[in-house]
Amino acid sequence: MAPPRADRVFHALADATRRDIVRRALEGEHSVSALARSYPMSFAAVQKHVAVLEEAELVTKRKRGREQLVRSNVDTIRAASGLLEALEAMWRERIDRFGEVLADQRGEGASS
């Protein structure tokens, strides 16, 4: 993932409405007005959420007539999620090794 937008991704995903927008728009394009009808908030508020997601490159927007169509950007989502996955994997491996050293009854200062 390109560094400049990195922090924005998690910030954008920290909001429940925005996560829901991303989820819906993963299944296909949704117009901003259709999205706005799904939430108990104004069109402008939803538009703002979409703008935050767009800045984080979590969604892309295109125009069709007077409509604005939103679609999720799978690559960005995968990258953000992948970082936490990878860190979990790193720690799992570390803890595996921790367990091995623990179990090594040679214990204190033994050289391997």
């Binding site: 829901d20 992948g82 994997a89």
Partner: protein
């Protein structure tokens, strides 16, 4: 040894991993306290760690380097924030230049370790890492987790499902 819980918090850029060991709490603490035992598990086999300074007291500094397959030697270190043997350790984990000097421009990661005796015997250890940015996560991975990166197959749903 069992990992009993993993909590990924994308909003706060943190990861907590909890595990249980069939070992006494003092023995678990030794693996942090003794640099020779610490270096046996800190780095992956492809990048084994060597701890140089190891002053595990509040205000103390721990330094280490890892040796890569090409002979490359990334350096890092900890500023020790809190120590309560054998229960608690908190450090700021940082990156260093080739001489082992802390790089002021690179992000630091907060690492908090809590270790407790289980009532039924054995020991529970929880490690929380708090990252200042996604870049910091990437750097940590680049330094310590070759295998981790390989396993970084994105699970789109997981991050999206978080307390939805």
């Amino acid at each position: 040894m069992t990992v009993t819980n993993v909590h990924k918090d994308p909003a706060n850029l943190s990861l907590t991993i909890t595990c249980e060991f069939e070992a006494a709490i003092e023995r678990v603490w030794q693996l942090w306290e003794d640099p020779r035992q610490l270096e046996r598990w800190w780095g992956p086999p492809t990048y084994p760690a060597t701890f140089v300074d190891h002053d595990l007291r509040p205000g103390g500094v721990v330094t280490y380097y890892m040796t890569g397959p090409e002979g490359d030697r990334p350096h890092g270190g900890w500023d020790v924030v809190a120590v309560e043997a054998p229960h608690r350790l908190e450090v700021e984990d940082w990156f260093a230049d080739d001489e082992g000097k802390k790089s002021p421009d690179l992000p630091t990661t907060t690492m908090r370790v809590t270790i407790d005796e289980r009532s039924g015997g054995g020991t529970t250890m929880a490690i929380t890492s708090v990252f200042p940015s996604l870049e910091a996560m990437e750097q940590v991975l680049a330094m310590g987790a070759e295998e981790g990166m390989k396993q970084a197959l994105g699970q789109i749903d997981e991050i999206l499902r978080a307390d939805a």
